[in-house]
Subunit: 596 residues, 2 copies
């Protein structure tokens, strides 16, 4: 251990976060395993085709002969029981959106989940017996998506996927690939009667190299199971998500998932080393290298990362795992608000960097300045920089009874460090805090090093989604914006919507320039939607931002793609789709604009 230097910052920085421990943990049960517990017992879900202006394309329908062929290809892996098909026909968002303050899992039955969810040791049955059931089933919010697929196939190998697709291609049958069904944009559920091809039984680790940290596994491995597997071997997965308990690595790659480790380990375009993909006609495309460097021609695997199963079905993934950090620290801080910086209170030693001045949002410039300082002083150990606004904190307090561990403020930031030497990391973080306090940039805060307190502080940020779902109907946007404009859209919407919105909040991965913008209302209202869209998209486009930072396009955002992509790019996407899937059988009605 390093000899610790006495630090000059106040003792409250090391105080424990207040509140009952029970009310602070990360969500357990269905919220921690979103998707895996979708939808049994809710037959009244309106169908997507009845709710959206979408027409079925002229695919064939599944015949008895098709079912017989599938049974030959995946003996025992053909599901046609209507009850068993309810869950995979509905997207998981229904599990997170309540309209009356009831917890979002209220509608769930106590029945075992049909899908034998994957784990590394083989399939196992999971039940929802831990779910509360005192509320009745409730109506679903307006935009939930549900298809009416009558067949779900559960292959175990790439060869089986290949045979299935070859058959579907010949017969012109549409296919909806499905991993953990945890997507946010309706990309993982059928729109009509597409055959659902589940990767749930493709859940084997194929190899792990204990020196390089290169993991090769089937696409249906659950992220959390993989995390556990590699952590036992002193590595971590390069991505981490709230949905890790259910999401499949193949789905993560297919949607180019971002998440909590993006700031440190970057995009899957960098960490995925190889893929095996089955193309629409059943061809197995082998790009499954396990090499860090390979410049032999076009990097074909990149095409499939983020293409949401519309160009091919990912069956095997080779991914580079970083070494497991030995120390993790979290600081939860309150940044200075200029009006409060009077003669009696500490004043920022210097004005925020010109690039960071945001006159419309008092206090946000100081959040950005904190980020900039933090990047410089924490350097290679900075692993997360998240922010949330005052309304987020109020909602987390009101709906989840999580008390704020710090003084009230317009903005809060959560800083995480991960490193290989606990003493060094603590000292770096100490120096940063000393500087931030001394210069008046930070006015209050708390710090955690042990795992329990780290989780408690993370809960304040991670459970915002849950708090919002209890606040009413939620309009959700996931935007990439230049950091200095990140919060302007929140201020703009508050002024624009006035009393029509219950709350307008902003939070997210500030370190990645990724804002989660949410608007709550008592109930869904077409007029509120009209006030929001296309305004939010136009505003984002005006900043050269992205209308989908990490959630993807799926079914829901395909017609707003043009706000972030020029016509030439959309045209090339259509051409790639036509090249790789000329009959359009793979995940139709998704990713590409409906107006070809």
């Amino acid at each position: 251990m390093l000899p610790r230097r006495p630090l000059a910052w106040p003792a409250w920085l090391l105080r424990g976060a207040p509140g009952a421990a029970g009310s602070w943990g990360r969500p357990v049960g269905p919220l921690a395993r979103r998707g895996c517990c979708s939808a049994p017992g809710t037959p009244e879900v309106p169908l997507t085709r009845e709710r959206y202006p979408v027409r079925r394309l002229p695919f064939s329908t599944v015949s008895k002969q098709d079912l017989a062929a599938f049974e030959r290809i995946v003996p025992g892996g053909v599901v046609t029981d209507p009850e068993a098909l309810q869950a995979p026909n509905v997207d998981w968002l229904r599990t997170l959106r309540g309209e009356d303050g009831r917890p979002p899992w209220a509608w769930l039955s106590r029945a075992p989940v049909l899908a034998q969810h994957c784990c590394l040791g083989g399939p196992r049955q999971m039940t929802l017996s831990a779910c509360p059931t005192k509320w009745d089933l409730e109506p679903l919010p307006q935009e939930h998506r549900a298809g009416c697929s009558k067949v779900l196939l559960r292959p175990r190998t790439s060869e089986e996927v290949s045979h299935i697709l070859r058959h579907c291609h010949e017969r012109n049958l549409a296919v909806n690939p499905q991993g953990g069904n945890t997507g946010m944009v309706g990309g993982s559920v059928p729109v009509f009667d597409e055959i659902i091809l589940s990767t749930a039984r493709m859940n084997r680790v194929l190899s792990f190299h204990s020196v390089s940290g290169i993991l090769v596994c089937q696409a249906g491995c659950v992220l959390e199971e993989l995390s556990r597997y590699v952590e036992e071997r002193d590595f971590i997965m390069p991505l981490d998500l709230g949905a890790k308990g259910s999401c499949h690595i193949g789905g993560n790659v297919a949607t180019n998932a971002g998440g909590l480790r993006f700031l440190r380990y970057g995009s899957l375009h960098g960490t995925v080393l190889g893929l095996e993909v089955v193309l629409a006609d059943g061809t197995v495309l082998d790009c499954l290298t396990s090499l860090r460097k390979d410049n032999t021609g076009y990097d074909l695997k990149q095409l499939f990362i983020g293409s949401e199963g519309t160009l091919g079905i990912i069956t095997t993934v080779s991914i580079l795992c970083p070494p497991k950090p030995r120390a993790v620290n979290v600081a939860f801080l309150v940044t200075c608000v200029p009006p409060a910086c009077g003669p009696g209170s500490p004043r920022p030693a210097r004005l925020p960097h010109p690039a960071l001045r945001t006159p419309g949002c008092p206090g946000f410039a100081e959040v950005l300045q904190t980020f900039s300082t933090c990047k410089g002083m924490l350097g290679e150990i900075l692993s997360a920089f998240e922010f949330m606004d005052a309304v987020c904190m109020q909602l987390v307090g009101r709906h989840l009874h999580l008390a704020s561990p710090v003084q009230e403020s317009p903005f809060y930031v959560l800083i995480e460090t991960s490193g290989s030497n606990a003493g060094h990391d603590a000292e770096k973080l100490g120096h940063f805090l000393e500087h931030a306090l001394g210069s008046g940039l930070v006015t209050d805060g708390t710090m955690a090093t042990d795992q329990r307190k780290v989780k408690m502080l993370w809960a304040l940020r991670e459970r915002i989604t849950e708090a919002l779902s209890r606040d009413g109907y939620v309009y959700k946007y996931d935007l990439s914006l230049p950091v200095e404009r990140l919060y302007d859209i929140v201020t703009d919407l508050r002024a624009r919507l006035g009393p029509h919105a219950k709350h307008v909040v902003g939070y997210g991965h500030l370190g990645d320039g990724n804002l989660h913008l949410n608007v709550t209302a008592e109930a869904f209202s077409p007029s509120l939607l009209a006030a929001l869209e296309p305004h939010v998209y136009e505003w984002t486009a005006g900043q050269q931002g992205s209308v989908s930072a990490e959630h993807g396009v799926g079914f829901r955002k395909r017609d707003v793609l043009g706000y972030s992509k020029p016509p030439g790019a959309l045209q090339l996407m259509q051409q790639l789709k036509a090249l790789l899937d000329p009959k359009g059988i793979l995940n139709p009605y998704k990713t590409l604009p409906s107006q070809a």
Copy 2:
């Protein structure tokens, strides 16, 4: 500063590297600026078409009307002077291969380089007046590539590139995009009379964000100039190469360059955020986002990273720059050799990890074990782990008079750390060395922290290429292999070639699994080549390795692609080429196998 703990490892670890300072520096002049000083005054270079079995495709030839059209598009940017066209017609490898111990720049004239080489402040003229000229021009080694292009175009903007390509597309004229002309596989020079489109005048930085570190610049910016630009702003470029003095960022991206920072900052597929690309028909494809996250549809820019100008010409690059490390340390170490580990000498405390046992190469298992230990103990600050074998050290000593700073050994490793806190980094490195010495894994070494000594130690590794070029004719291979088999091919070739080879050496980026395998001989010999190829490629394929780790395919390796890519992947590459460049005018005869 951190209070430094007295470290237990011996004083020689901190001794300076011996040898006259003058003989230790990195190469200066043409070697430091490879490519920019190519080829004036060597009219006798044999043409590629005369040397290789390649036939000109039925493109049009440039007419007077074409030249007039080009002059209208890029006034003053049309070069047709035969002398001025010599340099861009020949690939840079000629500048690094001498056959008789003469320095490789011996053939260079003292004439100013024609190309007004780009710098951020505007074009400037560079001369080779610093080059030695006491040797006569010498014959070029066998496989140098030279085209006979009669036109070079020097646009300044994407619009000009667009107009050029639209014209060429209509007229069926082939185009060879050229950056710094520093490629290793003949991808940057014409094979026949393709029009050379140089990015040298597209050298402006368009924007730099001082908080996020996102740089947007034109494709012709020289890497070293960009490095200087961002370092002045406390950032670094995410890649660094020996050719940085000449190579263009557009060429780096087009070839998916690897280099010295790959271990730490990863592939350009992760760090490049956006590209503007001009397609074969002149369409400007705008994928120039400056956002860290953007999941709006297929990530089209990935197609062009590593496609060597065959799918489109990159005109603008948006790239994420990491913060500049405040401390850099280098250790140059000798790892233990099992036979020497007798009773009197330190013995490794435990056997190498089973995955690392390499019975055929005594001592290499300890190199791997050192890497594994080093990764664990240096964690986030490890920025390079390079290795070289004993023959490399002998050649560097013999031809460049660089004395080894350590005892003789079959293997040497160079470890670099880069971090934000000098004290912490020194302590981490100290702990690692203490452990490595205590366990007998490392038996000798030297360390450097100041910039001069750091450069001296790096010179031992970086100047191996130069030493090899003075040793005779060099057969070069750039392979990705599983780390535990990395050195086996060197041992295998020594046994296979016997006295027919002068030297067989292995060195490279061990941390990335990238071996530079080189064989020297007194002169080029077809029989030696036949003993090497396809054996090396077959051996690599047998290990699921890559026959081009970082150098790319270009002209030279297009027909060995099949050793690393299955037929299905090659077919899809051809389809992508046909989709994006149906007339095949962009960089023909490159990247894709000649047998379509």
